[in-house]
Subunit: 176 residues, 4 copies
């Protein structure tokens, strides 16, 4: 999509929704002998989400898997909407929009695989991580340079906040 179209779409976003595995992580599912789970989130995505919230915007995560690890991470980052164990993510998406009182064109969704497509086509700004599958990249308005788990979420957040002319004011406290 052309740059101007992306900027226009980004300028309307009020709610950032995203998948977990492959978006907030590099897609690897780590399993231990006792069945426990482990996930690797990125510190620079974390600060990005923090800046997003400080801009007065809301965020949510819709994951196909179940993990108490994700619950911990979402809570520490102040992510308001969290849905897990969703093979079909459509209901979670609709419920979140209703609760947040936003329309589809006010939502940005970041995904990496087929299960994210139904939500991406309903979103004003559909973002694919750099290593998303071909079908997801083909239907995204924007594909991040960074891969999932290595700053893709941060890159998406900067894109939107800059389109909304909010980035500079958020960065100022670090420059003085």
């Amino acid at each position: 999509m052309d740059e101007a179209g992306i900027q226009k779409r980004a300028a309307r976003i009020k709610l950032l929704l995203m998948d977990c595995d492959g978006v907030l992580t590099d897609g690897r599912i780590w399993i231990f002998e006792n069945g426990e789970d482990q996930k690797g989130f990125h510190t620079r995505d974390g600060l990005g989400i923090d800046l997003w919230h400080r801009a007065g915007l809301e965020s949510g995560i819709i994951s196909g898997r179940n993990s108490s690890v994700l619950e911990r991470r979402a809570q520490s980052l102040g992510v308001k909407y969290l849905w897990q164990g969703r093979d079909d993510k459509r209901h979670a998406f609709a419920d979140t929009l209703a609760q947040a009182q936003v329309n589809g064109d006010e939502v940005a969704f970041i995904g990496d695989d087929l299960t994210d497509l139904p939500l991406m086509v309903q979103s004003g700004l559909a973002i694919a991580v750099g290593d998303a599958v071909a079908e997801v990249k083909a239907r995204a308005h924007y594909v991040t340079t960074a891969n999932g788990g290595y700053g893709a979420v941060r890159e998406a957040i900067e894109l939107i906040l800059k389109a909304q002319n909010r980035w500079d004011e958020l960065v100022v406290p670090y420059l003085i």
Copy 2:
């Protein structure tokens, strides 16, 4: 091998067999002080295997090592045939073909190292992961672009399901 030859071989496949370490993972053997094991599987390989089963096809894993972690992952993905601790993988391969009632030319095998070679030469479609050793790559009908643990299995599954004209119907539910 020429593209037409690969397509012809892929069109006949009914059973997907694969190694674990270096194919479903990036080859790293993680060990803890208490002797416990950990493995990193990829979420996008997982959805690929899920689509494979939904196409009515069967899958199996033949591993040289023993790991309860692999057992958990195989079970959650619905992998029907699982063999572990096999220094010589030939018997497991023969038994699986007998149980599944398929011939060698109906089997695709994905491998990365020398121990996979005896199974690859008996398989209708022998696939090497992108970072397989030279001997394995040289004898494979197809070498994936992706490395083991980073989507090589997903890539192999897409190749076969597309050759069988099954891919589009499997993806349709995500496009509406």
Copy 3:
């Protein structure tokens, strides 16, 4: 910055301060189900810090997060100043300079993200890791070739010790 300017700044450094996540690690925050933490430090950064101390110089870590893992690593490396859980890192920086009795232009700081900027602008030598965010790279005197967690700290240490003509004497014991 020009090479001569970097050398001049490096020659004055007496204290090396750095961030942890994204600098001593690759930025990934690993979380377990029980809430435990894990971090991956690099062995070659470790030997670099060891050489730094053998040169009679001091070091410190100022981290935004809290982690007993970092405490263990810092202690085993003999890092003298350790501050954790610092959203605003300015006080920790000022306190460390007072304790170490050095001026800002005698401090090198290695960072990767916005929270490090206030300390970098007060440091005689501001170093960004290779995968730092754009704002940090733009304000650094030097950007390492290596990414955080993969030798960026070692590279910074070599740069400074070579500028101080100390590197060769430190390496000699390994050459005989």
Copy 4:
């Protein structure tokens, strides 16, 4: 070094010695809150070491750190000589040569950092991993294409066994 010189050196090797962190692993020191250790070894290095032993040759690991994890891995691979917690690795090296009844020119040593240099200069074939520090690469007879933890040891083993005309016979069992 010229190809012929490397081949000549490799043809004499009877004992393979190597560092652990940064050679058998990618150099990352993983620490948990309870102080436990974790290491990531590579499955394809493992098969390489196995082939080395089947060729009737011996191997050993000389590590600067202490880790029960390394002990487990060394034991499962049948590595005969294991030394840990060696800041100065020279005594371990000399003792191993005496026990194995070999001369320095019959030893290959694979290293990544300064602490390995004193052993490399005493070895008939000094090998640096692809991401070794500059001083180590400069003094190595051979630098592997692969980085530590990602097949560097396998590459070194193949180089030597091929120079000794042993590789083909070891691979034959997998080709039939």
